[in-house]
């Protein structure tokens, strides 16, 4: 098997996954977004989305805040500075890899 170019190997796998890339891209232009907005945007099931969000949280790329609104559970997500930097770095690396 031929080895992949170094520029591709250097990509952050946490960001590279399509669903997580969409989540980070969306959060990058917002102060905060509700979990159900990301459900609508990505078309993922709640369980699948939770799994991706948990991975991003573990990597320190997003912060999850849980609370209540009108006595209903409310989950809000925010991108962190590390998440924003990782997304920016990924986009730059992709540009180089595709150039």
């Amino acid at each position: 098997m031929s080895s992949l170019p170094e520029s591709v190997m250097a990509l952050d796998r946490m960001v590279h996954e399509p669903a997580r890339l969409v989540i980070l891209s969306a959060l990058s232009t917002a102060q905060a977004a509700e979990f159900r907005f990301l459900e609508f945007l990505t078309g993922l099931t709640p369980g699948n989305l939770s799994s991706h969000v948990a991975k991003l949280e573990a990597a320190g790329y997003v912060v999850i805040e849980k609370g209540f609104r009108d006595k209903r559970p409310l989950t809000t997500l925010k991108i962190t500075d590390a998440g924003r930097a990782a997304l920016k770095k990924y986009r730059e690396q992709m540009k180089k890899a595709l150039a």
């Binding site: 399509p18 669903a19 891209s25 917002a30 905060a32 159900r36 945007l41 078309g43």
Partner: protein
């Protein structure tokens, strides 16, 4: 959407769509703007429809003018939560410039509010009514007048809080401020408020050209902003439908 990787352009579009969607949680009112514009016109031109044999507005029309700002804010908030953010609320990202702009705007709004309250207390004879020295321009004397005058001043003083929280767009702000001012005048004004056009009446009492000009500009400015708000609100509503449709398109599996 996530069944396939998106291109760089599509990811940029996702980010832009999210930003546009988020604007409807704060600045863009959509149909809320249309309702605000219409309500303002109704409150300003209600008189011909409610004209009776007396030169005064009916109590129902006066009550409508008083509650119009509340009706607008309630309708706007309901639309925001039940329509424009139905897929989940997204708060727009604010940078330092936005924050400085907001606080400058709020400070100016507070100054206007205090200025108007001062004008009401000193120039519009609310003080004389409250103190019971002599009847003002048709104001009631005694406890009912005192309560009405106090509520009216409180409405005006609440202006920066209400606009800062609910009416963040510039045209929304101006129309909302005009509407709240008319509401306050309807609360305390009594008979005086029933004599249109307001600016000529006040001017004739005050005999001051600058006051006539200022109130005239205020009236014209309010109506112009209401027209802009109405048109802009409708355009925002149409744009929102496109944003939502585009989000759904991007989500479709390959």
């Amino acid at each position: 959407m996530t069944t396939r990787p998106l291109t760089t352009e599509q990811l940029d579009e996702v980010a832009k769509l999210t930003r546009d969607y988020a604007s409807y949680s704060r600045d863009a009112a959509g149909l809320g703007g249309v309702i605000g514009g219409l309500l303002y016109f109704v409150t300003r031109f209600l008189r011909p429809f409610y004209y009776t044999h007396t030169p005064f507005w009916t109590p129902a029309a006066m009550a409508f003018i008083v509650v119009a700002p509340l009706l607008w804010i309630a309708a706007k908030e309901w639309l925001r939560r039940s329509y424009y953010q139905i897929e989940g609320e997204v708060q727009p990202r604010e940078n330092v410039v936005d924050r400085i702009g907001f606080w400058t705007f709020t400070a100016v709004s507070a100054l206007v509010s205090v200025g108007l309250a001062y004008w009401m207390i000193v120039n519009a004879n609310v003080a004389t009514n409250v103190l019971g020295h002599r009847p003002g321009l048709g104001f009631e004397v005694g406890p009912p007048g005192y309560v009405r005058a106090s509520v009216a001043v409180l409405v005006v003083l609440a202006l920066p809080l209400v606009t800062g929280r609910f009416l963040r767009g510039r045209y929304e702000y101006f129309v909302g401020a005009c509407m709240m001012f008319h509401s306050a005048r309807a609360i305390y004004g009594g008979q005086m408020y029933n004599q249109p056009p307001d600016f000529l009446l006040v001017g004739s009492f005050a005999s001051k050209f600058y006051l006539v000009a200022a109130i005239g500009l205020f009236e014209i400015g309010g109506l112009l902003c209401a027209v802009i708000l109405l048109v802009e609100g409708w355009k925002q509503h149409q744009r929102f439908q496109k944003i939502r449709q585009r989000m759904a398109d991007l989500r479709m599996p390959a």
